[in-house]
């Protein structure tokens, strides 16, 4: 059972454009939702995270929007740059169930100059 579903699998955006990645979850006990960025040959690195009591969080060009009732959250990358080209993973965490992260399937983003 895939507990965190992520879409699209890949997207291409022009430099300066907006990249939008969507995730949906099933387990209402999840209480922490991070996004990770992964470059080829590297491990995932935390980009930004949100808790379900907040509807939006912004850090620089990265914004998470969270819809608790719909069990959906999304990452917006504003003013996308070629250096943002990477694979992005949404994830979810349930504090009471231990410290394991449940990841989405990933979105490969390519920003064209």
């Amino acid at each position: 059972q895939q507990q965190v579903k992520q879409s699209p699998q890949s997207l291409i955006v022009q430099k300066g454009g907006i990249s939008i990645i969507n995730c949906a979850y099933e387990n209402t006990a999840f209480d922490y939702f991070p996004w990770y960025q992964q470059f080829p040959g590297k491990g995932p690195a935390l980009l930004i995270a949100i808790r379900p009591d907040v509807s939006e969080k912004k850090e620089g060009r990265f914004t998470i929007s969270f819809n608790k009732s719909a069990k959906q959250f999304s990452l917006h990358i504003m003013d996308s740059q070629p250096g943002d080209s990477a694979t992005y993973f949404c994830a979810a965490f349930e504090e009471a169930a231990g410290n394991k992260l449940t990841f989405g399937g990933g979105t490969r983003v390519l920003v064209k100059p």
């Binding site: 990770y36 590297k42 491990g43 231990g98 410290n99 394991k100 449940t102």
Partner: protein, 116 residues
């Protein structure tokens, strides 16, 4: 300071062989995690250590997989009788504290295991 390191970076083995993958967490991090990332997929949880003990090994796929962390620092993931389906990138992560609240998990670069 140094991040999480994993050795080897690549490991090629034959079906049926035994392999060991090593993880050196960030110094002072008490929690250590192993994940497996198959091609084109997100990482999947395998096991989590709090100190020397395995606090949650619910993600280990079967009894061919085993992990240890004898001194609460370095961890070794051991795979017996490897199968072609074990081919993946094995990621290790560590965090400062485990338990109350989420703490950021810092990932290593992974070990790419190929079983021929």
């Amino acid at each position: 300071g140094a991040g999480v390191s994993q050795t080897p970076s690549n490991k090629v083995t034959e079906k049926g062989k035994y392999v060991e993958l090593r993880c050196d967490p960030i110094s002072g991090h008490t929690a250590l995690y192993w994940y497996r990332q198959s091609l084109g997929q997100g990482p999947e949880f395998l096991i989590y250590f709090q100190g020397t003990g395995a606090a949650d090994d619910s993600g280990l796929p079967n009894d061919r997989f085993f992990a240890v962390r004898p001194e609460g620092s370095v961890s070794t993931l051991k795979i017996q009788r490897t199968e072609r389906g074990d081919s993946a990138v094995y990621l290790c992560a560590s965090s400062p504290i485990a338990g109350a609240g989420h703490n950021e998990q810092f990932f290593g670069p992974g070990t790419r295991l190929t079983v021929l």
